[in-house]
């Protein structure tokens, strides 16, 4: 695999200019995670209004893959209902694990991570924001 296959321009764009980056003051839910293999951290904040994601932000220390994944994820879930967010999470899981090859329109940017799917150690980086999101969904379901 070449460097450009792995780090497609879309990933580098998101890594350089992450969307929805920073703390969210009035979050209704917040979750923190660490990637134990590198010590990377992520904080994810959601503001839920009328059962929908009104606002979402993330911050922390991450590699290009986890930063880009978090950035794309926040874009994908903004405005979605919690059920839809849950579906997107499942959809992401089956794509990144290689169970599914096709991506719905909402997650089509994640196609850029195609090459990463062959690198199990790096799949963790891409997955970290989504696991953190699953934590939040779990918290809110309680």
């Amino acid at each position: 695999m070449s460097a450009r296959d792995l780090y497609q321009e879309l990933i580098l764009d998101h890594a350089r200019n992450p969307q929805n980056f920073g703390e969210l003051e009035h979050a209704s839910a917040h979750s923190h995670r660490e990637n134990i293999s590198c010590g990377d951290t992520i904080d994810l904040y959601l503001l839920i209004e009328d059962g929908r994601v009104a606002e979402v932000r993330f911050d922390g220390q991450g590699c290009a893959l986890s930063t880009a994944s978090a950035s794309m994820m926040t874009e994908a879930i903004k405005g979605k209902s919690l059920d839809e967010v849950q579906q997107l999470t499942n959809h992401f899981r089956s794509y990144i694990s290689g169970e599914a090859d096709d991506l719905d329109a909402e997650l089509e940017d994640f196609e850029a991570f195609q090459g990463v799917r062959q690198l199990p150690a790096r799949v963790k980086c891409v997955t970290l924001p989504w696991v953190t999101l699953a934590d939040l969904l779990g918290q809110m379901g309680e």
Partner: protein, 409 residues
């Protein structure tokens, strides 16, 4: 250009492998070293021609296996200048060797009033076994601090050693490459009545080790980091200390006599080698040691130093690259960061050039925290690496910076 040891590269079949269609440049020797042909052949010959259990059979194969296994023990004793081969205990790796000291020595001799002194540059394997034992016994753990240049702060050594019963420290840091002045530290520790355990995981591939000159009480290392196979490690300990220790695991081989009520234990080293050991691996570690001593550890150390300074100079000249630790006495593990590029991305990108380095916290999180660098990339060389491979790393880093040109948020 320096005189290198490239003639030995042909003994390592793996150095011919292609990765991502590029010739492999293996710079992850601190994680595990590669294995030369005599080691591979020893494993093969053992299984093909004299595989048998040791110390148990009275038949020819068992005698052959036993004598090869014990010959390996003698080779290892000579390799580290141990006074007696019976002081060499076979374990699985450095981690198990340290756990053996914690369980068989620590559990017997440490009390809640005692102190164990470690350092901030230890690998997790020389921290966690002590924390686990301390939860049971309740002794205090203290740490020698690391200075920004990656050396131990020894200014307060006497006070730090006050009340200490065991000092555990690494010979060479697996992150910043610092070679610690063990002999000097051990002498002070002994004045305070402390036992000294040295983690030699990063030393045995790079410098001559003489446990008597170091003046330590225990020395631990891993076969797989010494050109030998995985699954075999060594704990050396002074004989009188080994004698007074409790056994480690219970089972066959470690007993003198067993009745239903009571067991008396065998003498060291058997006391600590319960069960069927890693026979093939021990014998093959003996072959690795023959191989290394055939080259000469002094020669290897001399080249290690040359290649290290070359690497420091070349890597240090790349804009944005920061090498962690600048100890004057250093071996060939170099942790570094590249401005604006996360170590994981760096490692993946270097891999696309066929270059293997490690990225992360290198199992030394306290050290990373002390240096303010939670994660870094690490290149680590062995005697079979050549200066062109450092050049290739430097070129690849320039290339990676071009691809990335990315400033982290």
């Amino acid at each position: 250009m320096m005189r290198d040891l490239r003639e030995y590269r042909r003994d390592f079949p793996i150095l011919q492998v292609q990765v991502n269609d590029k010739p492999l440049i293996y710079l992850d020797n601190a994680a595990t070293s590669q294995k030369p042909l005599p080691v591979l052949e020893t494993l093969d010959t053992y299984y093909r021609t004299y595989n048998a259990n040791v110390h148990r059979g009275l038949h020819a194969l068992s005698e052959h296996a036993t004598s090869a296994y014990e010959a390996a023990r003698r080779k290892i004793a000579a390799f580290i200048n141990a006074p007696k081969p019976q002081e060499v205990i076979f374990t699985r790796n450095t981690t198990e060797s340290i756990n053996l000291v914690a369980q068989a020595w620590g559990r017997k001799f440490l009390t809640s009033d005692d102190v164990v002194l470690l350092t901030e540059m230890e690998h997790h394997s020389n921290i966690v076994p002590w924390q686990l034992l301390s939860m049971q016994i309740g002794f205090q753990i203290r740490y020698l601090t690391v200075r920004p240049d990656g050396t131990l702060d020894l200014s307060d050594l006497d006070r730090m050693l006050d009340g200490v019963k065991l000092l555990g420290l690494t010979h060479i840091s697996n992150v910043v490459g610092t070679i610690n002045p063990i002999a000097q530290i051990a002498a002070v520790a002994h004045r305070h009545g402390a036992r000294v355990l040295v983690d030699g995981a990063q030393a045995t591939l790079h410098i001559p080790v003489d446990v008597q000159a170091l003046g330590c009480d225990f020395y631990a290392f891993s076969g797989h980091k010494t050109c030998g196979p995985t699954g075999i490690g060594v704990l050396w300990g002074k004989y009188d200390i080994l004698e007074e220790m409790d056994p480690f695991l219970g089972g066959g081989e470690m007993i003198e006599s067993v009745t239903l009520e009571k067991t008396t234990y065998a003498a060291p080293p058997n006391k600590f080698e319960a069960g069927t050991p890693a026979i093939a691996e021990a014998i093959a570690l003996g072959a690795a040691i023959d191989y290394l001593t055939g080259i000469g550890m002094a020669r290897i150390a001399e080249y290690d130093e040359l290649l290290s300074s070359y690497a420091v100079e070349r890597l240090g000249s790349v804009p944005g690259v920061r090498i962690l630790g600048t100890a004057p006495q250093r071996s060939s593990a170099f942790a570094f960061t590249v401005e604006g590029i996360h170590p994981h991305d760096l490692s993946s990108l270097l891999d696309t050039h066929g270059i293997a380095v490690r990225a992360g916290h290198h199992c030394a999180q306290p050290l990373g925290r002390r240096l303010g660098v939670p994660a870094s990339a690490r290149a680590s060389t062995a005697f079979y690496n050549v200066p062109e491979e450092i050049d290739a790393l430097v070129d690849a880093l320039q290339e990676v910076k071009k691809v990335f040109g990315y400033v982290s948020p």
